[in-house]
């Protein structure tokens, strides 16, 4: 067991030495892999953040029921009480036209506009939080509410969230495709760098075979080299994503504030970052393995 561990420790140390001895090449390789990995990693972070918004909104779908402007407030209050009794409805909040106007007046820049209007153009509004969340049930509820006496129009606020969710699904699929293609690219890059490494170490491999090194012993440092390359690529990718999101969030914050939202794109969690490093390392190992099994066999002492 200790001999087995020692063999692996030596192979890892040999790979690390080799890797560090060619700093420039190693750095360029890591950069190439990092850029390739940054795209799916960054896209993932972005989509995960959007996913959070759309599911949050979809769980609590809201319907705005706008009354006709000539509707009687007492009738609207009766309607409010009636809706509260509906099991499909979680909560109802009445915003009277007077309240709505007051709120509008409080909004900076609009006070003058409101004053210029002369009369209140706003309707009474019932903000309904539905207890059902399936698309069909929501549609049915919206239709029913729209047909009630005194109701001018119903608007499902959850619609944009559903659209966002659908868009995110398309985004995720595209991301998966991109990630798949780039994974193949990563394997190809490692395959080639390991091939070059094998060729430059031709003499050492030949001598090692002559003096009784097993195939396993000879290939181990190359596999570790592939692993290290993949992991270094993942670290570069994380750095790129982190820097990219830091820049992006500055602008997003300004944009989100205008919507009264504190939305920002979250960085990958520790677990996700580690998963990225693991996957990249695994792909590097795989590429190295393919290269090794193709080229190492051909080098035989003569």
């Amino acid at each position: 067991m200790s001999a087995w561990l020692r063999q692996h420790r030596r192979a890892l140390a040999a790979a690390a030495r080799k890797w560090l001895s060619q700093r420039a090449t190693a750095l360029l390789n890591a950069l190439a892999l990092g850029v390739a990995l940054a795209l799916p990693a960054g896209g993932y972070a972005l989509l995960e953040s959007l996913h959070g918004v759309s599911t949050h909104s979809a769980i609590n779908p809201q319907l705005s029921v706008f009354m006709r402007t000539d509707a009687d407030l007492a009738a609207t209050r009766r309607l409010e009480a009636q809706l509260r009794a509906d099991p499909r409805i979680h909560r109802v909040r009445l915003i009277t036209r007077a309240e709505a106007l007051a709120s509008l007046r409080g909004t900076s820049g609009l006070a003058d506009v409101v004053a210029a209007l002369g009369r209140n153009p706003l309707p009474d509004t019932l903000v309904v939080t539905a207890a059902v969340s399936t698309d069909d049930a929501l549609d049915a509820l919206a239709r029913e509410l729209g047909a009630l006496p005194g109701v001018a129009q119903t608007q499902a606020d959850a619609l944009w969230a559903r659209r966002l969710a659908a868009l995110a699904r398309v985004g995720r699929l595209m991301l998966a495709l991109v990630a798949g293609v780039l994974a193949v690219g990563l394997i190809a890059i490692t395959f080639n760098t390991i091939r070059l490494q094998i060729l430059t170490q031709r003499d050492e491999i030949e001598v090692s075979k002559l003096i009784g090194a097993t195939d396993g012993f000879i290939q181990r440092p190359f596999l570790y080299l592939g692993l290290l390359q993949g992991i270094s690529g993942a670290l570069i990718a994380l750095a790129i994503v982190w820097a990219g999101l830091a820049l992006l969030n500055q602008e997003i914050e300004i944009l989100a504030r205008t919507y009264g939202s504190a939305f920002r794109v979250g960085f990958l969690s520790l677990g996700e970052a580690m998963a990225l490093a693991l996957i990249a390392g695994g792909l590097g190992w795989l590429g190295a393995n393919m290269s090794v099994s193709k080229y190492l066999r051909d080098i035989e002492p003569k």
Partner: protein, 222 residues
């Protein structure tokens, strides 16, 4: 123990390097193979180390049939052989010491024991004080001695050398031969291929002559 029985080696293209060669090197013997270049000496040695496989006949090394050995088993055969080549196959990207350490890397010795063995091997060939040098800085004779140190560091029971004294002056050649004799005295079987007949006559105990792939005669007392 090395034994060949009716071993032939035909290369692709039809060249017959060895024709029905039969001989044996008993344990603890020192034996020479002579012959002109192209007589098949190198091919014969390569068959022992499974670098080449025989076209027909049987090659036995310590009771193992080398010709039918599985690829996976070859490294373990070679660990029991000390191989010294005409072109020493040294690695010039590392020190003398690291060249000798190479075979110890996969032999599971604890680091301290490996270092001790490497220095012992260098000491035997008189290169201990050059351990930090790069092989490229060594003379021809010293490079050959380094190759021998690397070959014996794992204490093989059989030592095989292909033209170990080629391109060496008489004094260096004698020095190399003395080293082989010293290993033979402690029980290592030694098989040396050489075309240097003067050398063979001076030290030769058992001599085999190859010509055009055939074993001509075995001279000297056993």
């Amino acid at each position: 123990m090395i034994s060949f029985s009716a071993v032939s080696k035909r290369f692709p293209g039809g060249k017959e390097a060895l024709r029905a060669v039969t001989f044996a090197v008993p344990d603890g013997e020192l034996q020479f193979i002579t012959g002109h270049s192209g007589a098949g000496k190198s091919t014969l040695l390569k068959l022992i180390a499974a670098i080449e496989r025989p076209s027909s006949g049987t090659v036995l090394v310590n009771g193992q049939n080398v010709g039918t050995l599985k690829r996976r088993a070859i490294p373990y055969l070679r660990r029991n052989l000390g191989l010294v080549f005409q072109d020493q196959k040294l690695l010039y990207d590392r020190s003398v010491y690291d060249n000798v350490m190479l075979p110890l890397a996969f032999s599971d010795h604890p680091p301290r024991e490996a270092a001790r063995r490497a220095r012992a091997a260098l000491d035997k060939v008189g290169l201990l004080e050059r351990e930090r040098a790069n092989p490229i800085q060594l003379s021809g004779g010293e490079q050959q001695r380094l190759a021998i140190a690397r070959a014996v560091v794992n204490r093989p029971s059989i030592l095989i050398a292909d033209e170990p004294t080629a391109n060496l002056d008489v004094e260096s050649a004698a020095n190399i031969l003395e080293i082989f004799l010293a290993f033979n005295r402690v029980g290592v079987s030694v098989l040396i291929a050489t075309h240097d007949l003067a050398l063979v006559e001076r030290y030769g105990t058992r001599v085999m002559r190859l010509a055009e792939g055939r074993m001509l005669e075995a001279e000297g007392a056993a």
